[in-house]
């Protein structure tokens, strides 16, 4: 049994990088980090990314276990495979971090983001916006004679696509939550 026969990508509990370190491939990974919800824990995680020059593409955080005071941080990051492994190892080293899951290598995860769009205008643009919202299964959560606020849920790509369509139709403001993600299956 060689130590090198580790399942490719099984990295959330090891520091093993088995891929070619010289390959300059930038990968995007979604990490779920379970932490003690103590004072300063988010600053600690963000400070790690900033201090070591890692990317944060999206970040969401909320307490998910009120009795155990645990929060779940979902962070979408990018880097070379070596950097991704390093990010996970560095996160696991933080004292309030209990678990780090790389949802990208642990199987295709369900990823969702919620966004609110304010679209202003009248006439044909307004009708078109409503029609497209229907196609995207966005719901109207506020309306006036000159504006709608749409609520939409989906992958980051779906929300990007919706934003592209709304832009010429009077997109005034947008708020996005960032990605929340869970692994599939039991």
């Amino acid at each position: 049994m060689s130590a090198l026969n580790i399942k490719k990508g099984a990295t959330s509990h090891s520091a093993y990088e088995l891929r070619d370190p010289h390959a300059v491939v930038i990968e995007t990974h979604t990490l779920a980090v379970l932490v003690d919800n103590e004072s300063g824990v988010l600053a600690r995680v963000i400070g790690l990314f900033a201090g070591r020059g890692y990317n944060i593409e999206s970040l969401t955080v909320a307490e998910v276990d009120h009795e155990g005071h645990r929060s779940r941080i979902t962070v979408v990051t990018s880097g070379t495979p070596q950097v991704i492994v390093q990010i996970k190892a560095q996160l696991e080293r933080l004292v309030p971090v209990h678990e780090v899951h790389d949802l990208t290598v642990e199987g295709r995860a369900v990823q969702r983001e919620l966004a609110l769009f304010k679209v202003t205008g009248t006439g044909e643009h307004r009708v078109e916006a409503l029609r497209l919202a229907d196609i995207f299964r966005a719901s109207v959560v506020d309306s006036t004679l000159e504006s709608f606020v749409f609520e939409i849920t989906g992958t980051a790509e779906k929300i990007d696509a919706f934003a592209d369509l709304m832009r010429p139709l009077g997109l005034a403001e947008m708020a996005r939550t960032g990605v929340a993600a869970l692994s599939r299956g039991a």
């Binding site: 060689s2 090198l4 090891s14 520091a15 990088e17 600053a43 070596q82 190892a89």
Partner: protein, 584 residues
């Protein structure tokens, strides 16, 4: 069972229950209640420093020379910010420290109160972990957790920030045995399959080498013992980083000397040419690797480290082994012996033949002088006159540090205290005081440069007050020697601000502090001066006026691989910009 007491009393009780004998500190408004408790007890000795940076370096020296965590108490605001350099130093070199800082009362936090600073914010990046304690009931538990985190896994500094009202208020004391068990339980046992794979490679390796670091020393004396056993049993050559000196004896027959930027020729060439590198508690720092793509290009690399993030961070490890060095070495020895304790003897002997040829280059050779004291000569004489004594050595940072690493030999771990990762000028004097407090009857020498030494010279006052007979061995070249060397080699000999005018008279300075001062500037008088330093019962500054323009060799210029070293005999001017003849 559980006792009610004030937060300030809890601090002292918790330190006692953690077995703390000495704390280094400096009082101030936000820690007065704690100092009041310190006044009213005898169990813990308090060493009053002159500057909080000094306190942290003293605690580092104490910790590194004893294997126990060092403890520091500082006040809020400037007290805490002054500790930042020491904390960063300890984090880089994996030194276990528990720093207790005072904070303004909880109801004043965030109001820019007098001597308020966001201490946990400022120290978040330079501690292994830190806490702000807002309730007295949680104080004892947090202190016990602090000791646990500082000393488990890869050691490091922690800071506990304690507001003044939390010190005054009464709460329930929790003894260590009842403290909440931390989920922080790093893995210490290595993966057996990986260790077996390493044992297998050791049997066939033709050009093996052990590359060891500070992790061996942090793992404890047993790790050093096992390392020695393994080296002796395999007859493999061994080199070490700056931080790992003493884990394997400097007088040992398989010792190649230190490696890296100013490492020995034979050590660096052996690293470059090996086919099996066994990295033990070392982290492939950039001073070690040189140019990454050319780093030991033909070797399989096994990497044993307690910190998973150290493995694969810089250099790809073919055999990664996460675990405590002591545990892994024990298991490696067992497995390798059980498999028959075989090595590829014939090839390893040929490998030694190559290494012995490299040794003949005599890379530490320097031109002696009848009229000027060469810094290398000064260290050779210091080594000769202190050999065999119960000796601890600290250093400052720069040329003298590298020469000390090259010319002094350490046969035991925990005898060599130096700022490796952060390279903190001003580390050595306070560290020497910390070492001396821990080992009052031993000989403690700080090998210093005059520029570094001046950075924390106020701690001479601490040495005198607490009768710490530390010997300050200052190699005085009136230059920032390493900066000057780089300017000569890399910046066209434009010596921008790398020399000091109006240096103090170190003899008078010593006397002003109540210590002894000796000055020597002729090689013929050096031995006598060193003997006078050693014989004096008290702190001494020995001002050794040395050659002002000596360069430290060998040197791997930045961005060069291990097999392109500059040697002392080479003409150094212009070598780095490419005159190939000067490159070895």
């Amino acid at each position: 069972m559980t006792k009610q007491m004030t937060g300030a009393k809890m601090v002292v009780q918790a330190l006692k229950d953690q077995g703390v004998e000495v704390v280094f500190g400096y009082p101030g408004g936000a820690v007065l209640p704690i100092y009041d408790e310190i006044f009213q007890q005898n169990g813990i000795r308090h060493i009053l420093v002159r500057h909080e940076q000094g306190a942290v370096h003293m605690a580092e020296g104490y910790a590194r020379s004893t294997g126990k965590p060092g403890v520091v108490i500082v006040t809020s605001g400037p007290g805490a910010t002054n500790a930042v350099t020491g904390l960063t130093d300890a984090l880089m070199d994996s030194i276990p420290l528990v720093v207790l800082s005072g904070q303004v009362p909880t109801f004043l936090i965030g109001t820019d109160a007098f001597q308020e600073a966001d201490t946990v914010g400022i120290t978040r990046a330079c501690t292994k972990h830190n806490w702000l304690v807002k309730e007295t009931d949680r104080l004892a538990d947090t202190i016990h957790q602090g000791f646990h985190v500082a000393t488990h896994g890869r050691p490091g500094p922690v800071l506990i920030d304690i507001p003044k009202d939390v010190q005054f208020a009464t709460g329930t004391y929790v003894p260590p045995a009842k403290a909440k068990i931390s989920h922080y339980q790093p893995r210490v046992a290595g993966d057996r399959a990986a260790i077996e794979k390493l044992a297998e490679l050791m049997e066939t390796a033709e050009r093996p080498i052990f590359y060891t670091g500070g992790g061996v020393i942090n793992s404890g004396p047993e790790a050093s013992r096992l390392l020695r056993e393994l080296v002796e049993a395999t007859d493999f050559p061994i080199t070490s980083t700056l931080m790992g000196l003493g884990a394997y004896p400097g007088s040992g027959k398989n010792w190649l000397g230190m490696l890296g930027m100013h490492g020995l020729y034979e050590a660096n060439l052996a690293m470059h040419g090996c086919d099996l590198m066994i990295a033990v508690g070392a982290r492939f720092d950039d001073r070690i690797t040189g140019r990454i793509p050319d780093f030991s290009p033909h070797s399989k690399k096994a990497h044993i480290d307690i910190d998973p993030s150290s493995i694969g961070k810089v250099i790809h490890a073919d055999i990664p082994i996460v675990g405590d060095v002591g545990n892994v070495l024990r298991e490696l020895l067992e497995i390798w012996k059980a498999r028959g304790a075989r090595t590829n003897k014939a090839q390893v002997e040929r490998w030694w033949g190559k290494i012995d040829a490299w040794k003949k280059v005599d890379c530490l050779a320097y031109r002696g002088s009848e009229s000027t004291i060469k810094p290398q000569y000064a260290l050779e004489r210091l080594e000769a006159l202190t050999k065999g004594r119960d000796r601890y050595v600290t250093t400052e940072v720069g040329q003298h540090q590298m020469w000390a690493a090259q010319f002094l030999h350490f046969d035991e771990p925990n005898r060599w205290m130096t700022s490796g990762g952060l390279g903190t000028m001003g580390y050595g004097l306070p560290a020497s005081v910390g070492v001396q407090i821990a080992h009052p009857d031993s000989l403690v020498i700080n090998v210093a440069g005059e520029a570094s030494w001046l950075m924390n010279m106020q701690e001479m006052g601490t040495a005198v007050q607490f009768r710490a007979p530390v010997k300050q061995f200052i190699l005085n070249n009136e230059r920032l020697g390493m900066v000057r060397q780089w300017q000569q080699l890399l910046h066209g000999e434009r010596y921008s601000h790398s020399w000091s005018e109006s240096l103090p008279d170190f003899v008078k300075l010593a006397e002003a502090f109540g210590a002894k001062g000796i000055k020597v500037d002729r090689p013929g008088d050096l031995d006598e001066a060193i003997r006078a330093m050693l014989e004096y019962d008290g702190p001494v500054i020995l001002d050794v006026l040395v050659e002002k323009h000596e360069n430290c060799f060998p040197m791997i210029p930045s961005g060069k691989p291990h097999n392109e070293m500059l040697l002392g005999s080479a003409a150094t001017e212009g070598a780095i910009t490419g005159a190939g003849g000067a490159l070895v």
